[in-house]
Symmetry: D2
Subunit: 295 residues, 4 copies
């Protein structure tokens, strides 16, 4: 996908501006049109806010049209060809295209209940979610009233739009739409960073199933060369880091018992803010450890 | 099962002494006979050592007879009626009566290899082991020479004997044959013991499968009323404590994000000394924790 | 000093009862007299509460007399012979007989201010305090009104009385008037209790001066044989434990740099509840440590 | 002081080169002369190594002359006018110009003993030391033999030279002659960096006296804006960080007792490598904390 800089967007021909931004909101070309005249924008955040202001100032009828213009969640029954390409990619990220029969019928029930209560599709920014957190959101939001849900739907549309905008743009200015998950292993036995420690990151479903989503190994400073998750929202949900500490301490330490007291150290935590910076260090000896949300 | 005190054993009729101790070693009534005359014993440990001395002083032939008098590990193919009652109970404790087909054929191969190398059955004190640690022992010990394995076999027979002896005896004097696993949850957020925390203890197999073996809840002092494991050797293997910390902090704390950063806290560790005292505390806030082998 | 059991007190001649309890409150023999008829008492706490009820039910005049019957704080200017023996001992415990000139004139000023505002001496249970915390209390209480201070004065008299009662009694039943300070050193480098660690306990004045008040050395279980403070209220104030960790790790560890990163580890904390149980453990490696209020 | 880049030094007129480098070693212009012809140097470290090679290849006589060309330690009795300007600045950094009478006579005794044993002045790179660590070095090195001390003296001259060289140079290439001391305060009670925490850094003498050498306050990320010590070797010795944690938790936390359990948190540690990077974080709640040598 071609990217464009804010400066180019500010100075380019209006037709190019519209071509670039017409898909920020699903079927929302009119929003880009009303935004074009407000150029230049000092920051990406100002551009995004300006588009959102067009929507918020657009009256209930237009807002309703925007909301109903969105597809239902891309669960099995929905034929993919009715989705825009962006929607297809986004909805597969949370695993909505890989539902079990039971999950599918649960989604189906919730979708129908939501549609019959509110008359509009359930909109959620799926890239910020896991399958489990979408189901939880679904059930929570079903209990809201009409006004709250119109507000929620627009907020989710804005989140989807900002993520699409972020991917279109290049340059130093960044929208605050991506989170970050990193770690750091300190060997408080030797008083130095623990290098060469294999680490796996798992996503844990509500049913307890673990699926590996990243593997790395600490460098000489005890960190991974790159964050475990970056340049994307961290889907709301439960995660587990597994540090292969036994392997690290097996070399170079005084004799340890067999099997060693600590081998794989699991650290389980949940992400509540997909845009948050989560630093989860481990301070370890062969006999104990400390972990915490750091910064 | 009736129990007897050391004092009674020291002063009772020799026939009773023999009846009580003839099954300490499999088919080893002669050992009890040669021990009877050495009464009285000041401690249980002295009694056990005396019986072991009879074996060690008995010459190679008798030691060999003692070793071959033991049954093979009670895997499926062995017909239970050939085992003494004690052997049946002991061998079921490690799950040897519940082997998968694959495990069974692995045991079978190892058993045959051991028998054909050493000409005697593989003897191990199964109550100190899990299925996985027996397999590991098997493979490790297969690499030994004859003398080392005769030594190992006798040591295992002595361990089996001491455990049987411990169960026969009542009174304050104890053999050092049981381990202990306990925990303690400190709320370093509130500066007090964390009461009412649900805790589960799992055994983790080498393949990663988790099986719950104990459940408890901390009392007002942050401890379980009884140790999680006590009055038995702790089988060598991997374990995981799971502390339901999210539930504890959900009540009475300042508002936490949803889902909370920490919910279930898993602490995975291995037991290398079945007779050891393992204290595994947790010092926790909603945002981090420390765990270690304590005392 | 002779002690007496609750049972004896319940059944002895009334004259003995009066002789024993007449000095529980300064110049308050009448309180013991009115309590005698209520015997027997099921617990010490019931006896203390009964005497306190006599005071609280005694009317303002008698309460005032009780309060003014107390001496001023035993600062230098007060001639000791006007104090009962109990008062002399208590008041020396907080160091009130060793005031600097400046402290003396500060106390003098506060005393005069209190007397001229409330018309009674300032009463405080000095065994629960340090010099600094008495000065802080003095300034805080000077801002109260008459009723609050009558209430405070009686509460302090009751605290003094319960401590005197506790010292008179023997037997298993205890008044909850003593605190406890203990520690525990865990070597999370070696995975075992840290034995033989020299520990000093200091009291830290508001000016920062440190005065050693206890010395001990951890036993094989990493604890001191006896609590650092016990069988007394812990005076409100700031304390510092100093663990000679460098000395401990110097023997038996892999080579550490010279000087070692950690040598004396100071842990500074304050006591706010003189009757509290304060357990302050240290989990340490040569490169870091964790400390907390435990239980 | 004017600085110069490595590139300029590599290409400038030889007279300039000599002028710049003639004072790297005390009275050692000849070393610069023999180095000039080896230009260009790819790195500062290569330049320093080249000058050191001139010394090491220069024969015992020249090495001896270099060593005796150094002044005695700048203790009171030494008249400052006999020192080069560089020497004066360096020697005041460790407080050698502010000795008590007792310290002075101890230095004097050691100086005389060293001179009479080795026939040369005691040379030490004072910027890497505190008064106490110099005295310890003095006593340790007095026990060496002649060859070891010639080696030590040259190594110290090289250290002095590299520090002088580092200060003369500008540009991205750096000699590894400076250490760094930093900290980081994490609030594991609130799950966020602890901002606004006042921190003091003290140097602790062997006699226990504390002298404040830096003050700072954590920023929003829980760090100090600049390291506490940087751009210099960290003098070998004992230090104490004092974190005003009580003040931090007093605002915004649930009610804490008065006085709070933790107020000033002292963390005492020693520096053994003046060129090391020492990161000493604090993970804290109102009831406990963890500290360690981090990275």
């Amino acid at each position: 996908m071609d990217t464009i800089s804010l400066e180019e967007l500010n100075t380019t021909d209006e037709l190019v501006f519209l071509a670039v931004l017409s898909n920020i909101y699903e079927h929302g070309a009119w929003i880009a049109e009303r935004t074009a005249g407000k150029r230049p924008f000092p920051t990406l955040a100002a551009l995004a806010a300006s588009m959102e202001q067009v929507v918020l100032g657009g009256g209930e009828e237009q807002q309703h049209a925007l909301i109903v213009g969105h597809p239902d969640l891309a669960i099995k029954a929905v034929r993919p060809e009715t989705l825009t390409a962006d929607s297809q990619v986004e909805q597969s990220s949370a695993g909505l295209d890989r539902l079990s029969d039971e999950e599918f019928s649960r989604f189906h029930r919730l979708n129908n209940a939501y549609r019959s209560k509110f008359g509009v599709p359930f909109i959620v920014c799926v890239r910020r979610h896991t399958k489990d957190s979408i189901l939880n959101e679904f059930e929570r939001r079903l209990r809201n009233d009409q006004d709250t849900e119109r507000h929620n739907a627009l907020q989710e549309i804005f989140r989807i739009g900002r993520l699409r905008l972020a991917r279109l743009m290049r340059g130093p200015d960044r929208l605050n739409v991506y989170g970050c998950l990193s770690t750091h292993v300190l060997d408080t036995y030797g008083g130095r960073p623990a290098g060469g420690v294999p680490i796996e990151l798992y996503r844990i479903s509500d049913s307890g199933a673990a699926q590996v989503i990243a593997r790395t190994r600490t460098n000489a400073d005890g960190r991974s060369d790159r964050p475990l998750i970056a340049e994307q929202p961290i889907p709301i949900g439960r995660y587990e880091l597994r540090f292969a500490l036994g392997q690290y301490f097996a070399s170079g330490s005084p004799a340890l018992p067999q099997p060693p007291f600590l081998d794989i150290v699991p650290v389980q935590f949940s992400i509540a803010e997909p845009e948050g910076h989560y630093h989860v260090p481990l301070l370890a000896t062969p006999w104990g450890y400390t972990t915490y949300r750091g910064s």
